[in-house]
Structures are given as C-alpha cells and as structure tokens.
Amino acid sequence: MLQLVRRLSNKFHSLYSRSLDESIMENLLSNIVDFALQHNSTYADCRYVKDNYELLEAKNGSPSRLSDSCRSGIGIRVLLDGAWGFASTNDLKRSALEKSLKIAIKIAKVTAENTKTKKELCSEKIYQDTYHTPHKIDPFSINTDEKIIPLVEGTKLLIEQDSRIRNASASLLSRKYFTELVTSEGTHISQTLIQCGASLTGMLMAGPGGMVVRTNENYQAKGFEFLDEFDLYSQAVTTGSDLKILADKAVNAPSGKFNLVLEPSHLGLAIHESVGHPTELDRVLGRETDFAGTSFIQPSFLDENFQYGSEIVNIVHDPTLTPALGAYAYDDGGTKAHRLSVVENGRFSAFQSDRSTAREIGLTSASGNSRAHGHDRLPIDRMANLYFEPNIKYALSSLDELIEEAKSGIYALYSRTHSISPNRSNFQFTTQMGYLIEKGELSKPLKNVVYGSRTLDFWKKCLATTKTVEIFGTPKCGKGNPGQTIWTSHGGSHTLFEDIRIGA
C-alpha cells in the first residue's frame, strides 16, 4: 500500500508541482508579451498571481474551522486596434498560455470591430522593481497550534463575561498575495503583500427577540505580529462589556434631526461608500452602470472646483501608507502608487483612475487605482487606502472636546448595515451601538441607531474633528461583473456632523 501511495505521489508531483522559479516565470511572461506585440498589439501585459489565503476560526472555546486556499494563474491583457482583450488560465504550461494569448487577441479584434471609442493609455514610466509590504513574521511560517490558541482562548474569555452570551466566535485571516507583472513597455514588477486580520463576535440573548450582537474586527498589511497588537483578550472584555450595556441599559435611538459624532471605523464606511465609490472614474464614465452603479460626479466637476464638503473635509487616497490593508507600491497596470487628495479643503480634487480611464477624460497621468482581485479578472478602477485627514490647525485634541462641541446629539459607533443609492447620492447606515450626547457629555447608551442623508449634504455638514487618525481594513469591497472582491482600508478621526436625520 505504501509503495502504491509513493508511486502515486511521485506521479502527482510530476504532474502538478509546476513550481516555477522566478527566472523561468519572468521569461515565460516576457515571451508571451513579445508574442502579443508580434501579433500587432500596441500594448500587452501578463500578470502572474499566486494568492495564499488561510482562515482559522474558533467558536465558544473550541477550534471550529480551518481552511486554506491557494489560487494561482496568469491573466493576459492586450490592447489591439484600440480595444482590450483579456484571457486567463491557471494552467501554466507554455501551450496553455499561448492558447490564452490567442484568445485575448481574438477578443480584442472582435471588440475593436464593434467599438467606436478607441482605448489609449496615459504615459507611465517604466519600472523594474520588487516590493514587499513590511512585516515581522510571515503568518504562513507559524504552525497552526500557535495561531489558533489565541482564538480559542479569546472566545472562551468572551463567553465567561456573561452567562447570556450564547455565541462567541473569532477568526484569523492570513494572506500572502504575490503578483508578477510584465508589460510590453518594459515594466517588470514583483510584489508580495502580506496581510493579516482578525475578528471577534459575541451574541447575547437578552430575553425574547432580544439578541444583541457586537463585532470587533480589523485587517492590516502586517504579518502574524498583527494578532498580538489586535489583542483578542482585551477585545473579549470590551465586547462582553458592550453586549451587557446593549442588553441591559441601551434604549432605542430617538428619531429626528441631531448632531452626530462618528467614531473612526464607522466614518471609514461612510468614506468608502460616499466618497470612494463615486470618485472611481470607471463608474463616472458609466462602465459600471449595469451592476455596481453610476456616480453623481461628472468629469467636468474636476475643473469646477466642485464643493464636496465643508472646508475641513480632506479625503486622501494613499496606497503607499503602511500598514494600511490596501497598501501596494504599483497598481495592476504598472502605475506607481502615490498619495492623492481626492477632496481637499472641501473641494473635489481628483478621480481614482487607471491609465485608460484617465486618458479618456484628458488627464496626463493615472492615479494608480487599477486593481484586479486575482489573475482571472481584468483590472478596474478601485480604491485602496482612503481616509479622512484632519486639518491639524483646526482639529480638536480629544473626543471629550468634540462631544462638548456637539453639545447635544448622538455618538454612533461601529458599522452594522449599510445601504446606498446607485449613483451614491443617498445613504442610510446603521451602527452597532451609540450614546446620547446631552449638555456636552455622553449619557444614555443607544441601540438601533439608524441615520441617513444625501451625500453632499452630509459632507457639507461636517463641523469638527479630532486630531488622531485611526485606519481600519476591510477585505469585503465588491465591484465589477463578474464580481471582484478587493481589500481596502479607511478611517480618520472622530468627526462631528450637524443636523443629520436619525431614524429609518
């Protein structure tokens, strides 16, 4: 039996261990790109992706789930007669890649015959570079025991906080995302993004129909050291305390117009939905009309000094910011990542674009937002690290000062659900908990906090912020058709908005 297994194993190894060393991979990608140029492509790129993903979960003091995945493959993109063609495969044999290239070329030709608008690219420098997100400990070098014990202990501790806590679950997500991009212009970039994140959720049964839920989560471009910093044990104590407050003391949030203070992680959701998506240029150009939606922003707004918010609103996009989850050095089209002010002193100042969409509206350079969720998807315009940057000159020193400034209103914490209109002009969010603000101080705890606004009204009502910025990662941003899920991060400081509609 053992001999049989060994024989089968060897057969397997020869069949499926097509581990390609870097030089072979580089040659393979370069050859495909050269081949594309020989077939009259004006531009071509070849992107190898290897995506290692591991999810560990514990529930009520026991390990409950362990899964991992490794997806790899190559996407080939050609620009021919002003039209894109794209094909992907995870068969890395040269013959399979050549077949995919021919399909990409055929697709580009068919598209060119049926398209009037010819695609062109903004100029971009040629780069030959290697990039790793900074990290101390590769999460894939740690054995599973060591990784799962904190989850087990964290959930055990949370359950012990109150006998009514029925469910405590924790997860640790580790990812190593490697890309190698070779373009026909001579760019050759290798990037390794190491990312880790954790979540802790507690559910407390507070009488008939009274299930209350609290989730704490964060994801960063860090190694396994992230888990220590996230500190599941402290999170378990805080979560338990919040659950008891929600069950025993919180009252339903009132309805009406109130001043509203948002904590940084929930502010991040508001930024993502109401600034991030509407300023993605492919949306503005109608390319996501059928699925993700459109945008209330027009290309002309860039020249009109368009007022997006009050003078203190500064929204910055910066993929070079580490350890924020959306960190990268180059986007999937080979554009170098850089800091970008999307809204500056309340005025709309930049789109999130790729080389093709930027060129379409007459820009001379792209913003470095071309991203794909894997080898098998075309890169599209996506946000990465987008956050509120307070103007230090006017920002308040502490949350206490901000609450005092608000005088009365509601302090809303931690995202629960969200809904936003197709062109991103109207939204309604709910948070996991809140507090009433009375006479410049926090008073009663609140549950079922729901608020909504028109996007521009909301940002124009931004009155004050604190100084300290906190950034939170989310691995759940969906867009595109077929769907693409990418990892982003958002945040800012505690922020005060005036006269916001509270209630459904």
Binding site: L66, R71, S88, N114, M203, N426
Partner: protein, 463 residues
C-alpha cells in the same frame, strides 16, 4: 465506474487524490474537482468595453480525522505540488480539538449520481456570436426611440464541470451550462433622463428573450424621462420581477437553519407561524432545470428534494446542511453550501409560486393610486431582527393612477417591514422570471413573478 460527463483524466485524478489523502493520515477524505470555462462581455455607452475569458480548474479538498475537519481549496499549480497541500491539510486538521458536531462524510456505502444540464447550442456561443448578439441588443434598444442614448449590460456564458468523490465511495459528476444577461438603458431628452434595466439568467439560452428584454428596458427608460417627486409615505405598489429578487434573497437567508439556530434570523421565533399572506408560497425547487443552481445533490453530496419553505404564508421548513439538521434533529434536505470560508444550509434554488390568473397588466389595473418599482438596489436590513428592510429604487419608478402607469418618479429610498411587504393584500402575477443575482451569485437562484404589495414605505429622495 462508468462516467460519461467528465473526462477520464479528472475521474482518475479524483480517485488518486482520495487515495493519497487517506495514506497521509486522514480517516476520511473528499475531493471536488471543478473545471470552469466562461466568457464575459460587458457593454456600456452602447459599445463593448470589457470582454474576457476564464479557464480555471480548482480542487476543494476536505479531510476528516476523528471528528475533526479541515478544508482546503487549491489549484494544481500550487508551489511544492498538490501532495504538499494534502499533507498540510491533513496536518492542520489534526490540530482541531474534538468537535462532536462534525459528521462522517455522506453517504456510507456506494452511490453514484450524475447530472447533465447542458444547452446544446453552447458551442455556437463563441466570441463572434456573443459580440454579434450584443450588437443586435444595442441596435434593438436604439430602434425603440431616438431618445435612447446609452445601452449597458453584460452577457455571460459559462460551462461548469465537476466531479466529487470521497472515501465513502460517493461519486458525483455534473456538466452544466449557464447564461447570464442584463441590459440597462438610459434615455435622454434635453437634460432629463430615464433609465430602466431588465435581465434573465438561465441554463438554456433559448429561454432568454435577449432582444425583447432590451426593447422593454428601452420603452420604460423613455417613459422614465421627466420624473416628478413623490411625497414620502405608504403606497400600494407593484414590484416588478427584478424588484422582488432582493427581498427574496433576505427571506432565503432568514430560512437558513444556521441563522435560526443562532437566533440571528428574523424568522427565528416564527417557525410554524403564519408570517406572510396565504398567497405566499416559497418552494425549494432543485429540479426546476432553468434555475442556474438547480441540482440533484448539494455540496455535501446529499440528494436534493422539492419541498415548501413557506406554504400559504406559514414557515414550514428551514434550509439545512448536515450539521444543522443533526443539531436541530431534522433530516438533511439537500441545502448544504460549503466554501473555503463558510458552510451552512441555504435555499439554493427557489421558486416564489406565481398565481394562475393575474397578468402583470391585471395587477396594474387593480391599483387606483400607487407606484411601480422596476428594481431595488442595495437592500439591507435597517433592523435585522424586526425584519425591517431598506433599499432604494433603481432604474424605473413610476406612479400608477386609475389602473395605468402614468408618471415617472424620482428615485426614492424605502424602509419597509418585510412582513408587511408580503403580508395581506399580496397578489402575484402569473409569469415567472429568473433575474440575475447580484448577491451570492452561483450560490442561490430564484424564480419570481411580479407582485402587488399593499405597503411600501417610501421615505427620502435617492437622487
């Protein structure tokens, strides 16, 4: 064992993987090999702008050791080889502590099932034919009216083949096709615009009226020009088939055995109770072959069957995978869904039963003063446990007066109790559609008729 649906190479590979998994130390081992071949055309501003093809093979490996379970999803090109992945999986599975909830693989003993749901015309859907179809769609929409300016959408063709094999000698294979089509049209006169979208998915292309849907979308887009504002408040409403989809997704999630067991479902305390109108019949319909998730077995290999989740408004059954069925002392009912990130029971192929008599036009004629909602967008809970749903209208929102669709309306947000949305006063149309899924595509598919509801609570403008 004879198998005509998948290649001999895939069958042999599956058998070899299971053998190695057992030899590496797993007490039970399972593999699912999935080959996907897909073409996607996206069009916008009346021309093609993205066209791509995927060819992917993925392996899902599951190991069981003394009631411990590990799951791994890999492709054959993993560095270090597949054997290393299997070894890692088996080693990691051993780390799990005993969990009495984990079950032996299904079934014990021999079983063999195969399923072929393939559109015979699939091979003719090459790149040229797809581009030509899209071109005709765009042309037919522009023919409706000169105000039609932009035609957008997506046409997708897909072929999945998979084999599932485990050490309990379960052997399943499937060969399926899938067509996904959505069209979104903008009409414009001066500064005023109107928009509408239509769409269908199906296993068989001949069931999708590509050009009729484009023409319908164009007609409603033209009708949507010059919208006026509607006062906020409660309205009798027609939800067209596309608008019925999103609330149904939330009902399906609420029917998950897992979410009910954890008291996270708005239906958790409503099992056996009448929650909707007696005209509301929601059926698990895995053998309704046009449904793109129709199947004869679920992700755990459990045979599927037809039954009612909700009959005459009463919650009769939940969707179980084997684990929640075991925990809640029910029989597994073929609703198991398992990915590398999650596993639970969910209604995977559902039909909201239509009426026998009412046409869409009949429903409109019954309304003296109400609204027509063509589609909803970004539905989500405003209060999950109370069943309060919110969302905005999308691409088609009209006033109905004296039985006729009269005036276009500006988009609005609604925040409505799902119990009232499908409560007394519900009337269903007689024609069913399978709109494209935006949430959980590939996991669930739903066939729905248009319907009349006595209450949609419209709140604020969403434009």
């Amino acid at each position: 064992m004879a198998n005509k649906l998948i290649t001999k190479e895939a069958s042999e590979l599956a058998r070899e993987i299971v053998t190695i998994g057992l030899a590496e130390g797993a007490s039970e081992f399972q593999v699912k090999i999935r080959d996907t071949h897909a073409n996607y055309i996206r069009f916008a501003n009346s021309e093609i702008h993205q066209f791509s093809q995927d060819n992917i093979r993925e392996l899902k490996l599951v190991a069981l050791i003394n009631k411990r379970k590990g799951l791994s999803l890999v492709v054959p090109t993993t560095d270090g080889g597949l054997k290393k992945s299997i070894r890692n999986l088996v080693s990691a599975t051993k780390v799990n502590s005993d969990d009495p909830d984990q079950l032996s693989f299904y079934p014990t003993g021999k079983a063999y099932r195969e399923l072929e749901l393939v559109d015979e015309s699939f091979k003719s859907w090459d790149q040229e034919f797809m581009a030509e179809t899209v071109k005709k769609v765009i042309h037919s929409a522009h023919e409706v009216d000169s105000s039609v300016k932009n035609v957008s959408g997506m046409l997708q063709t897909m072929n999945h083949k998979f084999v599932l094999m485990n050490s309990q000698e379960l052997f399943l294979s499937t060969n399926q096709t899938e067509f996904w089509y959505g069209v979104d049209i903008l009409a414009k006169k001066g500064k005023n615009t109107g928009r509408n979208s239509q769409g269908e998915t199906n296993r068989f292309a001949h069931n999708i009226p590509f050009f009729d849907l484009a023409e319908t979308a164009a007609k409603f887009a033209v009708l949507g020009i010059n919208p006026v504002k509607l006062e906020s408040g409660d309205y009798t409403a027609i939800l067209d088939y596309y608008a019925v989809l999103e609330p149904l997704v939330f009902i399906n999630l609420g029917l998950s055995g897992l979410f009910v067991k954890q008291h996270r479902s708005f239906l958790a305390r409503k099992i056996g109770q009448k929650v909707f109108s007696n005209k509301f019949n929601l059926k698990h319909s895995p053998f309704l072959t046009p449904l793109v998730t129709s199947k004869s077995f679920d992700d755990e290999g459990v045979p599927t069957k037809e039954f009612y989740f909700i009959k005459e408004g009463v919650v009769e059954s939940l969707a179980h995978n084997r684990l929640t069925a075991f925990q809640m002392e029910k029989e597994p009912n073929g609703c198991g869904y398992e990915s590398e990130r999650t596993s639970f029971g969910i209604p995977t192929a559902t039909l909201l039963e239509p009426s026998r008599d009412h046409t869409f036009e009949d429903l409109v004629q019954e309304i003296e003063n109400g609204i027509l909602i063509s589609r909803l967008y970004y539905s989500n809970w405003a209060n999950p446990m109370a069943g309060i749903l919110t969302g905005t209208t999308r691409n088609g929102f009209f006033k109905i007066e004296s039985g006729e669709i009269t005036t276009a309306l500006h988009p609005m947000r609604h925040t409505t109790s799902i119990f009232e949305m499908f409560g007394e006063g519900l009337e269903l149309a007689n024609k069913i559609h399978q709109p494209p899924m935006q949430m959980m595509p590939g996991v669930q598919s739903i066939m729905v008729p248009a319907l009349k509801t006595s209450k949609m609570h419209m709140t604020t403008y969403a434009n």
